[in-house]
Symmetry: C2
Subunit: 398 residues, 2 copies
């Protein structure tokens, strides 16, 4: 088995990658994740009404709470592909199951890339057996790279915790880049752990983790047809089984949440064309819901995002975005702090824009909005909007 040097890998998982020329020739575009024993599986998926065929397939399969493998292609989303799309997703799963000698219902399929073009099955088909034969020859880094589309770096996080004296390992990989918005995005994330955990507990933990991570990031306000987070738990760590009533569920969930948070932050750092990493925090809103809505309104405002790109402490745009967001707010109570500089106090300028402009030259930007109305808070991660974003997305298919 090809070993990774940098990451801890949970027991019981093997990886393989291949090139099927779905992306540009010479780039890996197929990945296989294999669980040596049957894993407990939980998944969360896009809420877009237009769902890619593999998403619809996996949603059904995840209900069983079990699985053996995930086969992924990048370069083509197999979305808006009608009946042929579902036929292709089923065939990918069946071929993989055949090659691995497992039940087809235990194979999950994920696709990411261009929408509306059928999968090039003639190029994928012959590669599936190759993938199965190559199991163990790829490291987690190879798999993370094979699922990339416009990502500029592979995204991998691993964690170790102790549960009942047993060492439990988590490794997550994901891809993101564009079309990232609330409730996930052209975002695929695969999390592997060797924890022993029951399916209901795994589902609960995943839901909690995603809520405060992947559901709190936005690149451009768009939401993809393919977003999927799958977690597989092989149960080989030797801990006592975690149930929804276990004390250890809290520790498990917390580790999972910190892993998904780190992965989601990596997605934002790698936002298409991004030159800034931005955290928007809304404090003392009437409710958490209001705080989240306000934070997203700011994070998705093109005018805010372009101002940040230009190191411009143009806080009036933040006020305008808030005022337009529909949240309860009073202009005359609102404070705005940009990288530690209070630029607006009780709704009016403090005269510190120049100082804030200087501070905004840093790559990391922290925006704090205090509404002074209640106790609701929320943090959202985003990036700036650059000429490079336009360039990437105007040319994506050409």
């Amino acid at each position: 088995m090809k070993k990774t040097k940098k990451y801890s890998i949970p027991k019981g998982f093997l990886f393989a990658t291949a090139e099927a020329a779905i992306k540009r020739p010479g780039r890996k575009d197929l990945a296989l994740i294999y669980s040596e024993q049957e894993s407990v599986v939980a998944g969360m998926f896009t809420t877009n009404k237009v769902k890619a065929a593999p998403v619809r397939l996996d949603m059904k399969r995840a209900k069983s709470g079990h699985g053996r493998a995930i086969v992924v292609n990048s370069g083509n989303a197999n979305a808006c592909t009608g009946k042929q799309g579902m036929k292709d997703a089923l065939e990918m799963a069946a071929l993989t199951a055949g090659a691995l000698k497992v039940k087809p219902s235990g194979v999950y399929v994920c696709s990411t890339g261009v929408i509306g073009t059928p999968l090039p099955m003639e190029r994928i088909r012959p590669k599936i057996a190759e993938l199965a034969h190559a199991l163990g020859k790829a490291a987690i880094e190879d798999a993370a790279e094979a699922i990339m589309t416009t990502d500029t770096f592979p995204k991998i996080v691993s964690k170790r915790i102790k549960i009942d004296g047993a060492t439990v390992t988590f490794t997550g990989i994901c891809k993101g880049a564009g079309m990232i918005c609330p409730n996930m995005a052209t975002m695929l994330c695969f999390i592997l752990t060797d924890a022993r955990i029951e399916k209901a507990a795994l589902h609960t933990a995943l839901k909690g983790a995603v809520q405060k991570s992947f559901n709190r990031i936005t690149i451009d306000g768009d939401m993809s047809t393919n977003d999927s987070v799958l977690v597989m738990a092989s149960g080989m760590a030797g801990n006592e089984p975690i149930t929804r009533k276990s004390r250890s569920l809290a520790a498990f969930t917390s580790a999972l949440a910190s892993l998904t948070y780190e992965l989601s932050a990596m997605i934002v750092r790698d936002g298409e064309g991004a030159s800034k990493f931005v955290e928007v925090e809304v404090r003392n809103a009437r409710s958490d819901r209001d705080a989240e809505k306000g934070a997203f309104a700011i994070a998705n405002s093109m005018l805010v995002k372009t101002a940040l790109c230009g190191n411009d402490a143009n806080w009036g745009r933040l006020m305008a975005a808030l005022g337009h967001s529909g949240v309860a707010m009073k202009e005359e109570k609102t404070d705005i702090v940009l990288n530690g500089v209070k630029v607006a106090s009780k709704g009016i300028a403090t005269g510190k824009d120049m100082e804030a402009n200087e501070r905004l030259k840093s790559r990391d930007i922290k925006i704090i909005i205090d509404l002074h109305l209640g106790k609701g808070t929320a943090k959202v991660l985003t990036c700036d909007l650059t000429g490079e974003y336009v360039k990437i997305n105007a040319a994506y298919r050409t």
Copy 2:
């Protein structure tokens, strides 16, 4: 009186402009519109919770239904300026009223430009008397130019209709460019007519006209703190007074609506950095409301806007935006037509993307989405998202 050669001007109005160095030196940034007789006035204003001081002032004054003058400055929005902002707006109105020898309550004040910086009253104050003295020395073109911010051309439309045998003239000017979204935007619009019309009828006509014009355009999904549309009717055309029960109200409203539609289309054509003029039409939605929501979701999607910038018939992004918009839709029923080329039929590709790419090279783009679900329709105007938009907005204040 300085005459315009190109536009018909309704009876009873005079214009003046001045330079107060609020914008770059050498550019007109003050405009005065004066009604020789008391006009009937109606107004519509931003629904942003953060409203500029002059907007709050005009909203109150418009309730009277009457007025004599509009004084406008560009370069500074007088928004997020606290109590000082309202003091300044009131002073601008009072100085103007004094110079014109009319009641202060008959003077409307509008501001557009940067948010959060107090008005440079020391530069505006001495120019007000100059403005009043100069009345009649400016043509409508000068006024249209003085209210511009990042606009690249002045926006003027005039129309003539017959009502009861009398010739009624309309002239409208507006400014737009960025921060343009549903329910108006950094958008100021002044419409003058010599029709005799009662205030309730004028308000009804304006509301109907704005609904299908300024409320159906979007540049970047943001909504300004300063949007205002004011209409003044001098009553000098000699028609029978138009009331809410008059037959002639329909003709009046229709002329007003066609004028506001043309002005709103000009704003979109002049969208910041825009290289395309885009009409998005959603047909056969479950309701008009759904159609509007779907059309706006497409018009505001950064991924759609960048694809259009790149002449890319990437209809999958339209499907994803629709699916994410919350409107009732069935992927397998949805047709998409781009500049006359059906690229998706019943949710799947027709294989005509190349042909559509060619057609998208035109400056004008017409997108038709047929949901085949009901009878709701809506049209929304927008533009593409270009590197130039980012450049303009990253550098707006610097």
